[in-house]
Symmetry: C2
Subunit: 371 residues, 2 copies
């Protein structure tokens, strides 16, 4: 990083069905919480970066940068970024660049999505915007279908069983029990996951992250310090269509982003104590662990069957149990990593966020100074 | 600017009805033209910033950053930014930050919109996403309606006549005659404008920028030099709803952006020889000239009735006659300013781009070194 960037304030809304809250209400709630947590006032915000994927289509509201800025008394400059489900990480990367450029000293990053007012078939169609509208969409495939193909191939290549895959959701639900903001604070057994309704073989309902309303915000600063510092911010991309890949059981964009992030932070994988990774479907959690380099290909499941003592994976409950308000997820991941590092008095954490089938990937590494 | 940023390559597609070209085709055409114009290859592109407003909703394609990156052989990191009709200027501002941060040395900025495949009532509804979905949209108002109110009030305050207003479109069409990329290369008389169908009183059809397909791309660099340097990049915002303003005949966001840009470039208004400004409706051209400080309030029309010899306004034909593919407009403005400065051997030019009713504003100043 060209300058030291600190995470000086963080806040989020309850994730779930927030029928009585508008997009503006959700952003306002998260922004207020983040500012309350920070050693500065709203007037110190130099620029606002909003992360959102779907509002234009499902809420008839574009221009969310300005909408967020209008919540602050001085309506500072603002913009919205979108890179499908990776919008959050991309917003954080954009915020880091604005800070490193010297153009801003305090950047407010807000991620928001309001999905539960819209019928699920329309949400599925809108989410398909993350794939290639010319190459993928005409086949009629949806994201559960794409990840169904990936899961099928992964099981074929590595011998993963349906029963093993169900551990992933079981663990995520277990972790969410302790997260007051999580959408689903209830246990599910491995048998329940395996017996849940089939969505796109072999993907079942309890393999899928849900449709969620929610917002998360954080304040990044070069002028104020805190015990949490961003040590790496990396962004990568791959072909939009998975038909253009040589393999569908690994995402090169995640591999590249992780390599670059560890190099930027000058740490080893073994230094990391906390990870929030992108488990849009349970199979994605396994690919992510392997592509990030925390497990060998085909071995990701071991970290779910026998969770290691020195590495907490998706302590928030992940996208599966905490919920997945698309634009908010990447921001939530970073603030969760920070919260868990503080709580556990650990030094290094990593947030991993991707969009499409591993098309855009963002990896951030956070350092907690244990004084 | 923290570093010297040069405009080293520029290209655009024909603007208009491009029924045989997809979003990808349009981007590819503009990117190829920009790279052909630049002293580097596609592999030198470190990151791609895409500007687009409507594709998620009207083309079922989000994730345009990755889509643009997939056109390049090495699919570099990429993101999309959106701030309604100001998306182009916001993408340029984001690109400047990425360059100033040192994270990138060559940024490809691509603006694109594909609008003519969609019925005009759906385009009007999608464009209303630029306004406030809670405060403005429920009234049923559209953008021609909003600018109709603005025009009505402006005429009341300053005594502007319908006949005078018609000069604005007449001049824009006159300029577009020389622009091979313009959507409308035909003259219109002042009488034709005044007699064109009423859209939202007093706004008539020939007061409105059209529905357009098109793309524009440029390559900004800190590692290669050219005769065109970005001397200022400023972004501002205002309340999303005009109901929250004290006046509707002036846009403070434009005033602020202009003040800051002239300060950043350390030049005077009288130094500027070329302007491309945001004339989404003819009345907007007058507000823009006044808010940018080139005319006193109520006097903008004088610069259309008697065009000054030392200041070229919308030499491209403006949004009215060149066309307004929303996400591409801000990029087209900058590359047009560069082209005109070179052609006329002048030193200073300005690009002014706004979104919503003056909600987000971006002003860029370009310096042409006349060796």
């Amino acid at each position: 990083m060209e300058r030291d960037i600190f995470l000086i304030g963080a806040g989020q809304t309850q994730f779930g069905e927030r029928w009585n809250a508008s997009l503006r209400n959700l952003m306002e709630e998260a922004i207020t919480a983040a500012l309350d947590d920070a050693p500065c006032t709203s007037l110190d915000v130099d620029i606002v970066v909003v992360s959102n994927m779907l509002a234009e289509r499902v809420n008839s509201q574009a221009h969310l940068g300005a909408l967020a800025a209008s919540i602050l008394p001085h309506h500072p400059p603002a913009l919205r970024v979108e890179s499908a489900c990776a919008s959050g990480a991309v917003a954080l990367h954009t915020a880091c660049s604005l800070l490193e450029s010297g153009r801003a000293q305090n950047v407010l990053v807000v991620g928001v999505e309001k999905m539960t007012d819209t019928p699920s078939d329309e949400i599925a169609a809108a989410l398909m915007g993350a794939a290639d509208a010319e190459k993928d969409a005409p086949s009629g495939i949806t994201f559960p279908g794409l990840f169904g193909l990936i899961a099928e191939r992964y099981m074929h290549e590595y011998g993963l069983t349906r029963e093993e895959l169900s551990y992933v959701s079981t663990r995520h639900h277990e972790r969410a029990l302790k997260n007051p903001y999580a959408q689903f604070r209830k246990s599910v057994t491995s048998d329940q996951v395996s017996a849940s309704p089939l969505v796109a073989d072999p993907i079942r309902l309890l393999d899928c992250s849900p449709i969620t309303d929610g917002a998360a915000a954080c304040l990044l600063s070069t002028s104020c310090e805190s015990s949490l510092k961003i040590s790496a911010s990396q962004l990568t991309s791959d072909t939009t269509s998975i038909a253009d890949r040589t393999s569908i059981t690994s995402f090169p964009a995640t591999k590249d982003a992780a390599e670059r992030a560890f190099e930027e932070a000058t740490i080893q994988r073994s230094d990391v104590s906390v990870i929030e990774l992108h488990d849009c479907f349970s199979i994605a959690a396994l690919l992510s662990l392997e592509d990030l380099g925390f497990a060998e290909p085909g071995q990701g499941i071991e970290l779910y069957k026998n969770p290691p003592a020195d590495l907490q994976i998706n302590g928030s409950g992940g996208l599966k149990a905490c919920g997945h308000p698309v634009g908010a997820t990447g921001i939530k991941q970073l603030i969760e990593v920070g919260r868990q590092l503080k709580q556990q008095k650990e030094q290094w954490g990593l947030a991993h966020n991707f969009g499409g089938a591993g098309v855009t990937c963002g990896v951030h590494i956070l350092e907690h100074s244990i004084a």
